[in-house]
């Protein structure tokens, strides 16, 4: 952000509004010295405002690829045109999944993801595959990166600036070739994530059970073994906002729902804080 602002340029609207997260993230930085949660409701409300509400304001009724396909195909017979239309909307987004932790900032947690392995279950063999050649790739990669870095490093001052302006910045990717199909994040296929199961350890319940077992005369080790367990907190297809799959379009649909529905938002927050009932 600093480099952009130094030039007097402004962030795009989406990230300008991200300023709403400032306080919460500063608090998060301070928190790195300890695990006690501070201002996390402000943070998650900021996420809703900066991301989910922005998406909701841009969305018509839905980002779901299948649903848009159906609606569009009713009106237009040309399938290729319809594909272009929603492709342009959904595939500009990528989903970042931020996980709950084991450290009891909230209740300890982790997630098991399920993904599509259709076609690989019974007859996939790598024994007939050509040699991987990764060693050669990494030998070349090292040389290539050094070459990229040395390219202009001997230049200085104005020469360097002029040269940089002329040359391609290799840390900016080329646009995805138009003939490549969308990957597993956008269209159901091999390796598309289909569902997740969020596990958590309810520390209050575990402590109650542990003390109960100790009182009953169990040894501390036996009591711990009986009391300690992770349980399913929720799954991605659970009510009140079940996701039928985990495509980017489904996440965008969910973002719209979370922006518009207070009951869903309340449940989402409860899950974000791992069912601890946390409030600022």
């Amino acid at each position: 952000g600093k480099s952009i602002r130094a030039n007097g340029e402004e962030f795009d609207d989406e990230y300008e509004s991200d300023d709403v997260l400032d306080g919460a993230v500063e608090a998060s930085d301070a928190r790195t010295m300890g695990a006690k949660p501070v201002n996390k409701v402000a943070y998650i409300d900021g996420v809703r405002e900066a991301y989910y509400e922005k998406i909701a304001s841009k969305a018509g009724s839905s980002f779901s690829i299948e649903r848009k396909k159906k609606n569009h195909n009713k009106k237009h017979k040309n399938r290729d045109k319809s594909k272009k239309q929603y492709k342009g909307k959904v595939d500009r987004y990528s989903i970042v999944n931020v996980a709950g932790s084991v450290i009891p900032t909230f209740n300890p947690s982790f997630r098991v993801w399920e993904y599509n392995i259709s076609g690989l279950e019974s007859d996939y063999s790598v024994s007939g595959m050509p040699a991987q050649g990764w060693q050669k790739f990494f030998d070349n990669l090292e040389v290539q990166i050094l070459r990229d870095l040395e390219d202009e490093s001997s230049l200085s001052g104005l020469a360097n600036t002029l040269s940089r302006n002329r040359k391609v910045d290799k840390t900016i990717p080329p646009r995805m070739p138009a003939d490549l199909p969308l990957g597993p994040a956008y269209v159901p296929q091999l390796f598309t994530p289909t569902r997740f199961v969020q596990y958590y350890a309810d520390l209050e319940a575990i402590e109650r059970k542990y003390q109960k077992e100790v009182k009953k005369g169990a040894s501390e080790e036996d009591a711990a073994a009986k009391a300690f367990a992770y349980k399913v907190e929720y799954t991605s297809d659970d009510a009140p906002y079940p996701m039928k799959s985990l495509l980017t379009g489904d996440y965008l649909d969910l973002a719209v729902q979370l922006a518009n529905n207070e009951t869903f938002w309340s449940k989402f927050k409860e899950r974000a804080f791992l069912s601890t009932g946390y409030d600022d």
């Binding site: 962030f11 987004y93 932790s101 084991v102 300890p108 290799k170």
Partner: protein
């Protein structure tokens, strides 16, 4: 059927676990106000229990970590294909009486890595790289010393990491790991990879990171590496998960690092399945908009 003649059955599931933060100084019955290291608790809510109290500010007791990993081993190990493990394997630096040292950070990280190896390796094999369940670790901002500060290698720290994760990092990538501490693992050979990205090179709180626009910046060099690797994976028709500790958010990543990273994740949307991160300790998702990042990058250049 694997290249060595062995077979492995896919389950179609994987585990993402993060931010364990085990604390060897954690002591049951002490005060949470004294970060569960000492002191008489004021009341029940201030008391450090065996497995910890949510939201009281203490790190994980060793029991919490050990019982958690035991539970995973008993209940999930045989049901998953791989484990994405996104770092922070050491207590916070929150007790002046016990300041963290570099050797403590290395030691505990090595112990946790060894635990993961024991849990998921093929116990019938003498090959230490033979895992029933592949593990892909990445580095947290608390796993480095001083806190948050991590430079390009080779350094003592990158070599220590290489040593403690040597069985997780593919052999042909160990030299490149020494420099950039990012790597990838083919969790399904020839088909599916998981990238472990050194997000500390993009992280605002790392004093050595300024922008991703200069060739001397670690983030610039990381993005070069990322670009070549993604292109190679695309050419091999492989799909890939991205993983790392610090999530790519405008407030976490410095300068243009956020926008450039967002562009890579989006322009390789034919192969990238998604991103898995830790650090924030809150279960949520963020949709990143590449169109906005293109505008920001174009404006800044």
């Amino acid at each position: 059927r694997l290249a060595d003649g062995k077979t492995k059955s896919l389950k179609g599931r994987f585990l993402h676990i993060t931010d364990i933060h085990p604390d060897p100084f954690y002591k049951s019955g002490t005060s949470a106000e004294e970060v569960c290291h000492r002191g008489k608790p004021k009341d029940a809510s201030d008391t450090a229990t065996r497995f910890g109290v949510a939201m009281n500010g203490c790190d994980s007791s060793m029991d919490l970590m050990n019982y958690t990993l035991d539970w995973v081993e008993k209940n999930l190990r045989d049901k998953i294909d791989f484990v994405v493990w996104t770092g922070d394997n050491i207590r916070h630096d929150n007790d002046r009486r016990f300041p963290r040292t570099e050797s403590q950070i290395f030691d505990l990280n090595a112990k946790v890595a060894s635990k993961f190896e024991d849990m998921f390796r093929n116990k019938d094999s003498i090959n230490p790289r033979d895992f029933d369940v592949t593990v892909i670790p990445s580095l947290g901002n608390n796993d480095v010393f001083p806190h948050n500060l991590f430079s390009l290698g080779p350094t003592l720290q990158t070599r220590e990491l290489n040593s403690m994760w040597s069985n997780f990092i593919p052999q042909e990538q160990q030299r490149s790991f020494d420099r950039g501490t990012s790597y990838f693992v083919e969790v399904i050979p020839g088909k599916l990879a998981v990238l472990s990205i050194e997000t500390l090179y993009l992280y605002k709180a790392n004093p050595l990171v300024d922008t991703c626009d200069s060739k001397k910046e670690p983030g610039y060099q990381l993005l070069l590496w990322l670009g070549y690797v993604l292109e190679e994976l695309r050419s091999r028709n492989m799909k890939v998960w991205l993983s790392g500790h610090v999530p790519p958010l405008p407030k976490n990543y410095d300068g243009n690092c956020f926008h450039k990273f967002t562009l890579w994740t989006n322009e390789y949307r034919d192969i990238i399945i998604g991103g898995l991160y830790g650090h924030m300790n809150i279960d949520h998702f963020i949709p990143l908009d590449a169109k906005k990042s293109w505008k920001a990058v174009e404006k800044s250049s």
